[in-house]
Assembly symmetry: C2
Homo-oligomer: 350 residues x 2
């Protein structure tokens, strides 16, 4: 929705991900249908992208193509990626920094995207460190989990900031008016865990989001949906996300074996299929594609590198929600209230 602000809703890295640019362009074809007013700045190698873009009618109408000669590979170190000024990822990020686009979506190298975004788009002045967030399925609806690995070591202040950012995220992307927040710990009692989580909990209880803060939650609360937002450090969050995904994958694989193990089991599958298909659709990892680097002066969404058109379109949906609902303004507002209300965040040397 190009208002009086940036000319483009989003800059799109056409060359990121395993099946780029084809999967990206197919994703944009879907996204252009879902967001008819959106304008995309598509960045990539013109020779490789222009023809493919012309073949997608809706995407072609919604996109302006900008040439970028280079490409950041999946195994490139962030320090190396920073030196390549002509990469599609870099040129797309530059467009956000220059105010041409409100946000960027890339399915490329995660480490490179985080490093480039931090250096080029820059962290909000109110924020110590950005965090990586994502949405996952739970028994009671979608749940926001952060940090997922942007910060392997965090102090109490970082955790408090993640809670404020998670709150803004749940409002903007899940559309919740009063998202509840939990802090991940090894038990729900107040005395559990280390000083870091206990300090963070104390600060959050006294803050402007204190009434929605539900204290400590445990690993099983993520899929139980005990709270709408679950806050943790990047090491634990990364492990929790991948462990949960792994457990669901194990179940899917075992169910596939069950339903092909005998003729009656196959028939049983066919009978239960409509309901099983609805379940599969609801749990579809593509529906949860799009990890968001929050705390920057722009919207930055990382699509899974191995996803297809549907997954990429969903990552674009997430970015559009954030752009449309003034996500960064909400974060800023939350942080301002945090610094004017309640006691100070305990200062801890890093």
């Amino acid at each position: 929705m190009a208002q009086q602000g940036p000319a483009f809703s989003l800059a799109i890295d056409a060359m990121g991900g395993d099946a780029a640019p084809e999967a990206v362009l197919d994703g944009l074809e879907l996204a252009a249908e879902r967001h008819p007013d959106a304008r995309f700045l598509l960045v990539g190698d013109e020779a490789l992208v222009a023809g493919a873009l012309a073949r997608r009618k809706r995407a072609a109408r919604a996109c302006s193509l900008r040439h970028a000669p280079d490409r950041i590979s999946g195994d490139m170190k962030p320090t190396a990626a920073l030196r390549i000024r002509g990469s599609s990822m870099r040129v797309a990020i530059d467009a956000v920094a220059a105010g041409e686009a409100a946000g960027v979506v890339s399915a490329g190298n995660t480490g490179a995207l985080m490093a480039l975004a931090k250096i080029v788009i820059k962290t909000m002045p109110e924020i110590d460190r950005p965090a990586l967030a994502a949405i996952g399925p739970s028994a009671r609806g979608d749940v926001v989990l952060l940090d997922l690995g942007a910060n392997v070591q965090c102090d109490a202040r970082n955790l408090v900031e993640f809670a404020v950012m998670g709150d803004a995220f749940a409002r903007a992307v899940l559309g919740l008016t009063n998202p509840t927040i939990g802090l991940l710990n090894v038990g729900s009692e107040e005395l559990k865990g280390d000083d870091r989580v206990r300090h963070a909990a104390e600060t959050l209880r006294d803050s402007h989001i204190g009434q929605n803060f539900r204290g400590f939650v445990e690993g099983h609360d993520i899929t139980a949906g005990t709270t709408d937002v679950i806050v943790t450090d990047g090491f634990t969050g990364n492990v929790a996300l991948k462990t949960g995904e792994g457990a669901l994958k194990l179940m899917r694989d075992l169910l596939r074996q069950v339903f092909t193990s005998s003729v009656p089991a196959r028939m049983g599958y066919l009978l239960a299929r409509p309901a099983l298909d609805r379940l599969r659709e609801w749990m579809d990892p593509r529906r949860y594609n799009g990890a968001i680097l929050i705390g920057l002066n722009g919207v930055v969404v990382k699509s899974h590198g191995g996803t297809d058109a549907l997954g990429f379109a969903h990552a674009v949906d997430v970015a559009m929600d954030m752009v449309t609902h003034g996500f960064n303004e909400r974060i800023r507002e939350g942080l301002t209230r945090l610094s004017t209300s309640g006691p100070r965040v305990p200062a801890e040397p890093r």
Copy 2:
């Protein structure tokens, strides 16, 4: 198997857990059948236990009853539990410390069991801190995960010791001759994570278990079964275990909804039922009941407080495996080799 050693294979806390002593006694009735040579020292309030024991023929033959007037409740703080000398848990642990029993099984308060065991049975002299370990399901068989919460903060040395203990555990309980070991991290590349995991990895590579050390693994590797043993700190391990359990529970609940959502789905369930039942049996949390506090001068197994007879019998199986296969001797041997082989403190991170 009462050899020339302790008179009792295991001391059993009759009063621990939600359904004690009934579930414990039913579990012992099963265990006595599975381990006909085992002798159990059953500890609990005589007035409550004696009659119930007499009604279980096999258990009655395998058990000697010892009176303990008190009981540690589920919500009692460890410091309070330490002061009660006459609790069933304490008297059972005392029997291990006195050399009367080779190990103890309790379904009672986890924090109290850990605190009492550490103080009464004591940590092995070679070990800095004991760890809590458990077995879980994976696509390639059972996998050992530790630490699960005994130590919320760990250094590199603790992680290395956990690896040695996990190696011994996998040999004794899973019967593996060359268990592979992975160190949980946010990525599999050597440079990922913090100093702590990188130092631990370096030490492990140069140690006597270096040839079985597969380096860093990620959350999804737990259920993928990438390695037989997965080592992490107690905070991350606790969250990972509960997140994985939560994800599996979500899937079970959703499948129940699927199979009751329509008449054809119900029929489908009936047709696929034998295969689904096998899957359910294989994934049954009771089959994985029994977390083990390892690194002490005796075998200490914590059964889930809410489990039934089958679950408690499985916790007894785990303890019997450890007693029978000289688990603690294996750990001692491993630690001795660790201190005589490779460097203990890494010189510099790579």
